[in-house]
Amino acid sequence: MSFIRTLLKTWLGPQRNTKQLSLESKQTGSCGGMSTTELKIRIELILDGVDTRQIIEPVTGIAALSHALQSEFLTQLASVAELSASHAYALLLTYAPALNAMSTSEHSYWLETIKQALSEQKFEHAEILINGYGDFVSNLDKTTVQLSEVAELLEKLISTISQDTLTIGHLDISSKQQAYTDGKQLYLPASISSFDNYADNFSLYKVITFQLLGQLQCESLLAIKPLQSGIADHGNDFLQQFSFIETVRINHYLKYTFPGVWRKIVDIHKKLAVENYPESLFEGDEKTTVFNTLAIMEQSDFASFSSDSLPYQGDFSPEKLILNQVENSENQSVLMNLMNNNIDAGEDALTEDKLADRISIKHNANAEALANLPDKHQDIWEQLNETVAQHQQEAEKRREEESNKRVYYYPEWDTSLNQYRQDWCRVEEIAISDNENATHALDKTDLRFSEYKIKKTLDMIINTQRFIRYQSDGDEIDIDAWVEAKSNKTKHADDFQNVYVRNNKNSRSVAIMFAVDISGSTAGWKNEIIQQSTWLLSRTLSKLDDQFAIYAFSGSGREQCDIYPVKEFKEKYSPTIKQRIANLSAKQYTRMGAAIRHLSKILNQAEAKTKILFVLTDGRPDDIDSYRGHYGVEDTRRAFNEAKALYLNPFVLTFDQACIDYLPHMLGKNRYRLISDIAMLPVQISTIYKQLTT
């Protein structure tokens, strides 16, 4: 499906606008990384006539990226190729090294700057930018705020205010559009550098965001009809005047609702020398509507505001407001009515085709795609549709078959889209054979020392006194202490203070889930030590009252996230468990997020006061379909956060010496431990267990 859509993206490239790109990227399917062959085919489609033998090295670099980054690369390559094929080829050569040399936000800004230069036909400058990406980074203005840096913060900020989920998208840098909203997404400039310091530029971002939020909360879209007829009668001056006065009205709303934002607006006015701002225009009206704006327009001299524009002003043009209403309305007749009105509304109104396209983008992406396809691709499209239907039928059939298995579906966090991919990972619990097998790894004599150490450590938990005697305060009188004190009265009068016994009832209520990574990288002696540790610990833990379960995880791709139950909570420790542990062997990859979600769910069902999710791993999240790098870390981080929200205590024990690069971010500073000597794992694991549970 992803391949199909990406192909379509490539074919449709020249006909699309930024908004369509954004929508399609969200609908694009798999996160599986593309192979070099697949990439070469796609690049050939974009750069017609390119000699694929000469691009092996850059393509290899691109192949190492995640699917999301590869898709982004193809999109960017296509859009640059539209402007200049030779520059697109140069970009192909430098794309991956540039990505390594800069942060993601800097990279996005670099690309946007290249596109802007090309759109302004500054070809030499664009070439310098492409080839001199190192200089670009070093000369980058650190006062500029990139949207990618602040989008998450702004999104979270508005999520605390708005009932609806609003996301943030960026405008095409070359289009010089004003910020606007479609009711679901706020479209902001890709970067802001209006001021010579970062804080002010960020303030401007914030003000623009709140202006757009204000458009929604102050219901500016109610003015569509009057706006359309005004534009029809007076042209764009009417729109300009409306935009200005409506912005002032939203500012008036912000002044009383979010004084902090208003303070920033005043500051911006001062710094950008905005003169004659009509602050008193709505003074006295506590609750205003868009009709107050229209009334002021009627009363005032029509030309008095027409040339003014505020630096943070959003786009109020009817087609943008209609998008907002399209998102908010489910009533098709209203949409058609709006569309018809729009068509009648003068020279700047959208044509029927364009508006139909816009609506169809929202409601039927397939139809839109079909409408825009060249004739020669119509047949292919139909074939693809059949393939999709076939695929859906197969998936349905497979689900039916799986109803008898222990199969679960979990979402996965796509950090590039900033949203979950629902039911993305198929997790299956696969029983491990408990057939008699060589358990030589668990029968070694040198394990006795480890076993002794573990036992000693855990005995400290087991032997916690239930009654503490000689206390100054307690539940009962300690008769022995009293008698003793009485007999020693002349010597130690103070002994009479310590004659109570405190019932220190062992209130340990612990459930621990051991999640053991058995990916291919643990093959060999690592696997043997993991087996030994797991066995020794489970054997010793069985003497405690603590509930514990052991599950191993590995897999290959999102469709095959395998979980191997070694010991479930309800099971007692037995020789069967030992056999299962002995049969644990290194498997394939580590899709950690899905495993954590599944095991968190199981652990959450255990009844215990303290619930610990103990992950034993040898490296970072990694899977075949580009579940690696930033993507894998972010999904795993999300899964750990979900576990924390369930009041579980995740903890990671790792052998990966490079864990400092990702574990503090993924889990927090104090929630992981690095074992430098894996041979010490059996002892270390029990020490950590004690620390975690006492």
Binding site: L157, D475, E476, T610
Partner: protein
């Protein structure tokens, strides 16, 4: 065993009276419900997030009914003896010392067990015979069954926000109570409460409440619990005493509710938006 009556008072009830009317702004019909429960000798369970006014409500009702209030903050180590009583040593002999629950039962007080789910489950079971029509408290160590005074009332509070397998009420306990739900008050009422408690200008209090509601929208997305009314009152007092609102909110709200750097940055941004 025949239950003993509680004719002899063991404390001077006046010591436990709340003399000055506590400020309390009702959000709904909680006062009427409580009055009815009191008249019918039905125990009351107050549910709500931390700092929303549960304890203040109890103080108010104690003052309103002129009944002494004995409040116990429950915790992990709270034992049955801590509630019921124990023997103490005095002059080479042992004397019985009533615990707060027994004191309340004997003297017809309102006993308020705050954050009951924090107590161990075996401890909470001791209240069961007090919470049904028997209204008796077994004093095992004395070998007595103590019949509750007609004025005795048992009230407990807990925060459903902490609900987990270990911090939940047993159904057998839960089903002995009338429940009053204390969520955060409506914005206008909460603003008035903050204003009355801190004397800060009402407009500023409204902004504080707006900020609190924004933090409450973050619950489950970086925060375990949003800013409580109590935190707002603390912050309002700081502002009233001359602190800059931004600084007061950072100290009084943001830094108090999270240690996570990312969430703190977001909270600071929210403060900057509102003030």
């Amino acid at each position: 065993m025949k239950p003993m009556n509680t004719d002899n008072k063991t404390i001077n009830n006046a010591e436990y009276f709340i003399e000055k009317e506590p400020y309390y702004q009702p959000s709904s019909n909680e006062i009427e419900i409580f009055n009815t429960a009191l008249a019918e000798n039905i125990p009351v369970l107050l549910k709500g997030p931390t700092g929303c006014g549960k304890t203040r409500f109890m103080e108010y009702m104690s003052w309103y009914h002129k009944r002494p209030l004995i409040a116990v903050s429950c915790h992990d180590d709270l034992t049955t003896s801590d509630l019921v009583g124990r023997y103490l040593i005095k002059d080479s002999s042992t004397v019985w010392q009533d615990g707060p629950l027994t004191t309340a039962v004997r003297n017809g007080c309102i006993c308020y067990l705050d954050e009951i789910v924090e107590a161990r489950k075996d401890t909470t079971v001791v209240i069961h015979p007090l919470c049904d029509d028997r209204r008796i408290l077994p004093l095992e160590k004395l070998g007595q069954l103590l019949k509750a005074s007609p004025d005795f009332c048992l009230t407990m509070s807990y925060n459903p926000g902490y609900q987990s397998a270990v911090k939940d009420l047993k159904p057998s306990t839960r089903q002995r109570f009338i429940s009053i739900d204390f969520s955060y008050p409506a914005e206008d009422i909460e603003s008035v409460i903050v204003h009355e408690e801190s004397k800060l200008d009402l407009k500023q209090c409204e902004l504080l409440v707006k900020l609190a509601n924004m933090t409450r929208n973050l619950v489950g997305n970086g925060l375990e619990e949003g800013a409580s009314t109590r935190l707002l009152v603390h912050t309002a007092k700081l502002i009233y005493r001359g602190f800059e609102p931004n600084m007061a909110c950072k100290c009084g709200i943001a830094d108090a509710i999270t240690d996570d750097d990312d969430t703190k940055t977001l909270l600071h941004e929210m403060i900057d938006t509102v003030f």
